[in-house]
Structure formats: C-alpha cells, structure tokens
Amino acid sequence: MSPALMGSPMKYLCLVYLEEQKLHAIPDRECANCGAGFRERGLLVAAEALQPVDTATTVRVRNGKVSVTDGPFAETKEQLAGFYLIEARDLNDAIQVAAKIPPAREGSIEVRPVRELQP
C-alpha cells in the first residue's frame, strides 16, 4: 500500500503568487496570524514572505564556472523543481551556497531574500 493510503502525512508546497502592486495588499499581521494558526495545528513546516522579484539573483554553474546574473530565472522552459531555505551572512555567501546545489549545473537557482513580516 502507498504511504498516503496508509495515512502517513504528505508534504505540500503552497506557492504564493501576487502582482507587484498587490504585494502589500494583505496586511503582514494577517499572514503572521495565519502561519501561527497553522503551526498550532501542526500543519506548518516553514513559511516566509519574499522580497520583490527585483531583488532576485540567478546562479548557474556551467563548465565548473559560477555565473551570477541580476533578475529571476530566464528560461521559460525551466520549471520550479524544488527549494532550499538557507541561512547566509549576505548575498555573496548565499550565492556560494546556491552554486553548490547540484541542479545549478543543469538549470538555474533563483536566490531571493526572505522578507521579515512586520508585526
């Protein structure tokens, strides 16, 4: 029997999409409360708000060389395939870590800073 039918929990990633001008349409407090509620009910693994796409940096590794470019992933053929939530001192460190993620050799890693919710 598959794990799902045996009743063990699955993990799901819920991605949040918003138009740029609506990034602050929902008050941070409401999102924080929602997260706290999920946590209490044992539903939440991790939740973060992201800085706008303008702050994105794309990291690729080709022929062993790290390339860094401004902006989000460029290839429309590429699809979201996974995520790593990391801690780093600054963007330089984050880029170094991102370059070590194996799919950086085949696709691209979009590095986006997390935005702390304002209480």
Binding site: V68, D70, D90, N92, Q118
Partner: protein, 415 residues
Amino acid sequence: MTATASIHDTLSAVYLSESRRVLATLIRLLGDFDVAEEALQDAFRAALEQWPKEGVPSNPRAWLVSAGRFKAIDGLRRGARFDQLDEAAAADTIAVTDDAAWADAESVEDDRLRLIFTCCHPALASDAQVALTLREVCGLTTEEIARAYLTPAPTLAQRIVRAKAKIRDARIPYQVPTHAELPERLDAVLRVVYLVFNEGYTASSGTLVTRHDLSAEAIRLGRLLVDLLPEPEARGLVALMLLHESRRAARTSPSGELILLDDQDRSLWDHGMIAEGSRLVTEVLASGRYGPYAIQAAIAAVHAGAPNPAATDWNEIVGLYDVLLRLNDSPVIELNRAVAIAMRDGPAAGLAIVDEILDRGELRDYRPAHAARAELCRRLGRIEEARGAYKRALKLAHQEPERRFLERRLAELSS
C-alpha cells in the same frame, strides 16, 4: 574677496575632492546608500553654517564624516523613517565605531574600493552597475548620466533606485572581495569602466561620434582604480583608454564625419597621452602578468608609434592578436586579426579569414564584419560584392556618422 566667499570656494573645492570619499565611508558607517547620501548633504550644509564662524577644520574629511554620522544618528533617533528599526541598536552600531577609524587614510581608501566593488556587483544588471558607478563613485548627477546615455532621466533614476534597493534588501555586502574572488570581481569593475569609456568614445546611438565627458570620466575612474589597486589589468585598461583617447581630435572631421585610422592626421594625436599609455603598456608587459586589456593597449601602442600608416609594424600587430586570441577566444578578435593580416599579407589573405568567420554565422549581424568585408572586396576590385557588403553594413549601422561614412563609400563605388 570676503572671508565668507573664500570659505565658499574652499567648500566647493573640498566637495570636489572629498565628497565621494566621505560618502564611501558614510555608507560603511551607516550601512545604507540613501541614509549616507542624506548624511553627506547634511554634513556639507553644516559645514556651510559652521566653517565661516569657526574656521576650516584641520581635517575637513574627518569633520565631514563625523558631522554626517551625527546627523544620521540624530535622524535615526527622531525615527521618522526608521520607526521599524531598533533605533538604539542602530545608533549603538554607529556610535561604537572608533573616531580614529575614519581619519585613517587606509580605511578611507578601502571604503572607496568597497564602494566601487559594490556598485559593480555581478548580481546587479549591467546598466545598473554603470549608472550606479557614475552616480556614487564619480558623483555625476542623475540628469548628467541620463544626458550622456540619451536615456530619459526618470528611467535612469528608477534604475539607480532599484539597484540601491537590491543592495539593501538582498544584502549585497559592502566589502572588497577576498583574494580568491578578486580576479573575477575586478573583471566586472574593469568591464564597467570600459563600457563607460566606449559609450563616450563610440556612442552607440545618436548624432555625435564622441561624448568626451564619459570618456574622461572613465579614464579618471581607471586611474582611481590603479591608485587603489595596482593590478596589471587595471593599468592595462588605463593604457588602452589613453591610447584610444589620444586620437580623439583626429578621428572626426570638423563637420563630424568619421575618419579611419589610416586617414587620420597623426599630428593631431595627443602625444602626452600616447607617451603615458605606451609607458604603462611596457611596464605591464614587462611584469609578465598581462591580460586582454594590456594586449589591446599594446596593439594601440604599435599604431601610435608609427609616424604614418605605411610604417605600421603589422607583423607585430598580428602577433599581438595571436596572444589576445589565446587569452580570449572571440570572433570579434579573429575579425580584427584578419584585418591586420590583410594589411600584412594583402587583402585576399584577410578576406579569406573574414569569409570563414562570417560563414560560421557568429558575426552575421555584426556591422564591422560586413564593413571590413566590403573594404577588402573593394581593394580587390570585386565591386559587386563590395557594394552588397556595404549595404549590409549600412542596414546594421545605428549611428549617423557611421551611416554617412558607409553611404559615402557606397557612392564612391558607383562613380
């Protein structure tokens, strides 16, 4: 002259010589470009008030940094814009910095390098790196940069605002790269300097062939970089810029027409710049640690050393292109090498290589490739082919003097 007027003159001079240094240090102390810029303005405003009464301080730079820092802390305390920050912590961070730290020349020079490397960080878009460097390192106003790049001022302002927001929100660190990162990061800085130079030297659009201010700014920036970080490639780039710049007066006619190297009046070349550029090239080549900029400078120096086109040492130039190709395998360099071979061995030898490059398709839409092909065909008397290539080049030319030059050549073929 009244005492106040002379203080104003002193302040203007101090602003010119020190404002970028003071800004670079304030960014380190305050951790934010916008806060530092505001603090810089506040510091000069305070100087304008206090120096006439109290006299010019013995160390104006330290005075300005100190004044700017205190104004910023004051602003943080009033907290209008920073109510979400932990004000006390922010003020503490700023206050614990040792007073001696900013008067120390070495850390001030490091701050200038930090500023340059941060503005040219690879996580910023190329056009943002250029705009930010001209704004923050060179101190050009947004309007001046917009005018130089024929870009609407609001577009440019937006580019700068966005770049600063990314530095802040993605936390691009304000530091000089480590030894291991330095070569690559220095390349990015040199590329920005050379982009600025080229925009000034061969404007990519518009009616003027040269926009002198940008080239002068790039040379100034290159010299600053050499002072701060005497890497051979930085010196090579300064040499290259000087050797190109030395031909400025000769490369356009009074009516703004483009004049090719062979047809230039060499007495118009700036021999001071040639001497300095050539000396730098010799030093860098002798050090054995040369890169593509130094080799390109060496090629420019060979041209500069020839009293007339016929006296050019084409063999030496072909050899330098061979070295350059080994450092940087690019079809554009291959094309330039082909032109040098045409000069050394005759147009047929050059044309064979140009055709081979064009057949590979890489330079299909590169105007100089078609212009070179046209020129070589013309010299070989293959008029129909020359005409076709000139027309192709003309389609790809965006700059007025270039277009007129190609049209002139085309008309000469018909007569």
